[in-house]
Symmetry: C2
Subunit: 471 residues, 2 copies
C-alpha cells in the first residue's frame, strides 16, 4: 500500500538483510554476556538501530518474521515509532500478533500516526477495540471521516482495498495548466497512472492517462485527450471481480465512486496484487484446515491449537465411515479380502471427486457456471465418471479376480468402482455449488465434505454389494 | 501485456457481452435455418462482426471460452486478423488449442503480425514448429533479434515475462528537455511509471519516476531527481522472486539488464499479476493431478484423458496400501473390528501430514527454510505430532474401547495413532523438501506421495501392532 520507493540498500536481498541482523544480534548478545546482569544496553544496540534506518520496511518485516521471538523483540524495540506502522502492515498475521503483544496501547496509537486511513483499517481487526477508538480520536476531522469510511467496508470488497490518494482535475483546462497544477504536489502518490477528471461536484467524467498527458502539446485542452466512460468500481464491488478486471485490462489505478458518481477513492494494482497473493495463501492453508499462517517460531502448543479443529472434524467424518464398515463386520469376518479391497474403492472415488470439485471451483471463480450450462457440466462429469468407472473398474475387477480367483468378487469390485465414481462426480459438483450458495468460499472445505461422502459411500456400496452377491 | 486501454464498451461486464453474442448467434442460426443448405451467410454475420469491433480483446476471449465449439468457431471466424493475436494471448490454453486447430498456418502468421516479440514468445509453445519459423522470418531485423531473445528464456524466469517497451533518457538533460523528448511519442507504453536513465552505452544509471518528473520545475537537471541504484532484474532471475519483490515494494515497472548492466527490457506489474494468477491456477489444478485447465466444452473423452494419469497413479498407490492390508487378512478374519478402525488411523495421518506439507511448501516459497531452522522445524512438527497423537490417540483409544469393550484394542488404537502422526510429520517435511531438491514444484504432487506413506504406514502400524498384541 505504501508509496515509498525502496531505500538506499534496495540492491541487497531480504536474505542478506536477515544475515546482517543475525550477526548484529549475536554481537549485541556477546557484548551483553560480558556485563553484569547480561543486559543488552542501548549502546550495544546502536549498530542495530543504524542498520534499521537503511532498510525498507518490507525487508524489516521479512527479518522480523525469520527471527525467534526474543531476537525479534530485541530488533522491534529499536525500530523508530514512525516506521513501526508500515512494518506492522507488512508482517504476517501471526508475527503481527507477537509484536503487538509487546506494545503498550499508547505505543500502538503512536505507530499508526504515519499511516493512511486505508492502512489503519487494514490493521484494525488485529488491534484491541479500545486502541482502535483511541486511534480514531487521534485523527483530525477529515482523516477521521476517511478512517470511519475505510473501517465500514467488509473484507473482500473494493472498499476494503481502496485508498484515498486521489489526484483529480477539471476537464476545462489545458495540458499546460494541468502540469502546473501537478507541480504544486511534492510528489504524486505511488501507482498514479492517470488523473481523474471530475466536474464541480466531484463526479467522475473521465480519466487522463499520464502516458497521454506527457506526450501532449501544452496548449491542448484536457477535454480532447481524456477517456470518457472509464472503468470504475463502487466500494461495495466484489474484490475478486475487481482483480479479474485488473488482470484482464492491465490496469494500474481505477477510480472508486459512490452511488452519485462522486470519486471517493481509488483502487491500485499493488493492493490488488497483495490481495490476490493473500487470498491464494488463505486458500492453500484453508484446504488443509489451517485457519491462519503459523509463525515458524510459534510454540508447539499454539501450532497444535491452530491445527486441532480440522483434525477433530476429520476424526468425526472418519469415525462415521468407520461405523459404515463396522455395520459389515459380519461380512468381513467371512471374507477378509473385502477389508483389503475397500480402501481402493473409497480412495479412487475421493481422487476423482476432488478433480471434479477443483474444476467446478475454478469455473465458479471465473463466472463460468450458469443455469444454462450447469446441466451440461453435470452430464459431462457423469459421462467421464462412467467412462473412467468402466475402464478402471474393469482393470481393478481383473486384479481382484487375479488375486483371489473369485469371479463374483471381481464383478463386485468393478461395479462398486463404477458406482462410487458416479457418486463422486455428483458430490464433486453439488458440494462446491452448495457452499457457494451459502456464501462460503468453495475452495476451502469442499474437500473434507467430498472425502466424507466418497469414503462412506465407497465402503457402503462395496461392502453392501459384496454382502448381497457374495455371501 | 497489451497497453491498449479498454474500448468504448468497457462499462459492460464480460457476462453482458456473452449474452449479447449468444443472442446474435441464435439470430444468425435461425436466419440460416430458413435458407437452403442452412448455411450462415456473410450477411447474417454482419451484426456479429460489428459487435466484435466494439469489444475489448480480453472480453472477446471470455466470450469464446464460454461458447460451445461450433458457436465459438462461428464467432472466431468473424474476428479481424489484426485482433486475433491479442485474443489468442488472452484465452485459456485449452480454448487456444481449439482456435488454432481451426486456422491455416498462414492465418496464424498473419494473426501474430500485430504482436510484440514478448507476446509472440508467449504463444510460441502452442504453435506448430514450422509456423514459429515462418513468424520469425516474417519479422524485420530488429524485431527478429528481440523475438529470438524472448524465445530463448525458459519458463519461470524474468526473461520469459519481460517486454521490450523501454523509454530511456540520459541524465545530463533538464526536465524541460525530457518532457520535450517524451512529446515525440504518440503515447508512452502502458505501465510506464518511470523513465530509465542510461549512459551512452545504454547502461542503467537510475530511474526517474514520472510522479517526480511531473511535479518538478522544468529547469531542474534530471540528474538531481533520479533514484540511483534502483531495483533491477536479470533475465535469468526467478520469476517468483521477482513477483515477491513487486509485492514487497509496490513496483509497477522494473528495468531488466544484462550482465554488463545494459537495459534490455522491462518487467511490468501486469505481467507479474498474470503470472501469479496463472501459477496459482496451475497449482490448484496440479494438486488433483490435472495437467491443464479443461475447456468446459471439451468432450468427455478429452477430459477423461486429462484426468486419467492421476487416477492411474493413485490406483497404484491404493493397490500397494491394499496389499499391506492383504498381508494381515488372517488377523482381520479373527477380529473384524480391525477393518473398521484401520481407515481412521490412515486418514487422520493423511490430514495431519498434509497440514505439515502445506506449511513447509509455504515456508519454501517464502525462502524461510534454511539449514539453520530445518532442525527446529523438524523438532517442532514432531512435537506437535506427539501432542496431537497423545490427545486424539487417547480419545480414539477410549472410543475403540467403548465400542468393542476390549482394553488391548483401545491401547493398540491409541499407540497406532501416535506413531502414524509421527510418520506423517516426518513425511510431511521430507517429501516437499525432496521435491524442491529435485527441482519440482513441491506444491504439486507432494500430497499424493504423502497420502501413500500415511495410508500404507497407517495400515501397517495398526494391523502390525494388533497382530502382535491382540492375537
Amino acid at each position: 500500500m505504501s508509496a515509498n520507493p525502496p531505500r538506499a540498500d534496495s540492491s541487497a536481498s531480504p536474505q542478506d538483510h536477515l544475515e546482517a541482523f543475525e550477526h548484529l544480534i549475536r554481537r549485541a548478545r556477546v557484548a551483553a554476556s560480558l556485563t553484569p546482569g547480561q543486559v543488552v544496553s542501548a549502546e550495544m544496540q546502536a549498530p542495530l538501530r543504524r542498520r534499521l534506518e537503511r532498510v525498507h520496511p518490507a525487508d524489516v518485516a521479512y527479518v522480523l518474521e525469520n527471527l525467534p521471538l526474543a531476537d525479534r523483540l530485541l530488533v522491534w524495540e529499536q525500530v523508530e515509532a514512525d516506521d513501526r506502522g508500515e512494518i506492522l502492515l507488512e508482517v504476517s498475521d501471526a508475527v503481527r500478533e507477537s509484536l503487538l503483544a509487546d506494545m503498550e496501547n499508547a505505543e500502538i496509537v503512536a505507530a499508526t500516526q504515519e499511516l493512511d486511513a486505508d492502512e489503519i483499517a487494514d490493521l484494525a481487526p488485529d488491534l484491541p477495540r479500545e486502541v482502535v477508538q483511541d486511534i480514531i480520536e487521534a485523527q483530525d476531522v477529515e482523516d477521521r471521516a476517511e478512517l470511519q469510511a475505510a473501517l465500514s467496508y467488509p473484507e473482500g470488497t473494493v472498499g476494503a482495498l481502496m485508498d484515498f490518494e486521489v489526484v483529480s482535475i477539471r476537464e476545462d483546462v489545458t495540458v499546460e495548466v494541468a502540469l502546473r497544477y501537478l507541480r504544486r504536489f511534492d510528489e504524486l502518490p505511488g501507482q498514479t497512472d492517470a488523473l481523474f477528471i471530475v466536474d464541480r461536484e466531484d463526479r467522475l467524467k473521465g480519466l487522463l492517462p499520464l502516458k497521454r498527458l506527457l506526450v501532449s502539446d501544452p496548449d491542448v485542452e484536457v477535454e480532447t485527450l481524456h477517456e470518457r466512460d472509464p472503468i470504475s468500481f463502487s466500494p461495495e464491488d466484489d474484490a475478486d471481480e475487481a482483480a479479474e478486471a485488473f488482470d484482464r485490462y492491465d490496469l494500474v489505478s481505477v477510480p472508486v465512486i459512490d452511488a452519485d458518481g462522486r470519486v471517493i477513492g481509488r483502487l491500485t494494482v499493488d493492493a490488488v496484487l497483495e490481495y490476490v497473493r493473500e487470498k491464494q495463501e488463505a486458500q492453500q492453508l484453508g484446504q488443509v484446515g489451517l485457519r491462519e499462517e503459523e509463525d515458524i517460531f510459534a510454540s508447539v502448543w499454539d501450532s497444535a491449537k491452530n491445527r486441532g479443529p480440522w483434525l477433530a472434524l476429520n476424526l468425526l467424518t472418519a469415525f462415521f465411515a468407520s461405523r459404515v464398515v463396522g455395520a459389515f463386520e459380519g461380512s468381513i469376518e467371512k471374507l477378509a479380502a473385502l477389508a483389503a479391497l475397500m480402501p481402493i474403492v473409497a480412495g479412487i472415488g475421493g481422487n476423482s471427486g476432488n478433480q471434479t470439485t477443483t474444476l467446478i471451483v475454478r469455473s465458479l471463480a471465473l463466472g463460468q457456471v450458469s443455469a444454462a450450462n450447469a446441466r451440461r457440466l453435470l452430464l459431462k462429469e457423469v459421462g467421464i465418471a462412467v467412462l473412467n468407472g468402466v475402464m478402471w473398474g474393469g482393470v481393478l475387477g481383473l486384479v481382484a479376480y487375479g488375486l483371489y480367483r473369485n469371479v463374483a468378487l471381481g464383478g463386485v469390485m468393478a461395479l462398486a468402482m463404477l458406482l462410487n465414481l458416479m457418486v463422486a462426480a455428483l458430490a464433486g459438483i453439488f458440494i462446491p455449488l452448495a457452499m457457494e450458495r451459502f456464501g462460503r468460499d468453495p475452495a476451502v472445505g469442499s474437500s473434507v465434505f467430498l472425502t466424507f461422502v466418497t469414503d462412506s459411500m465407497g465402503f457402503f456400496i462395496f461392502l453392501g454389494l459384496a454382502t448381497v452377491f457374495l455371501l
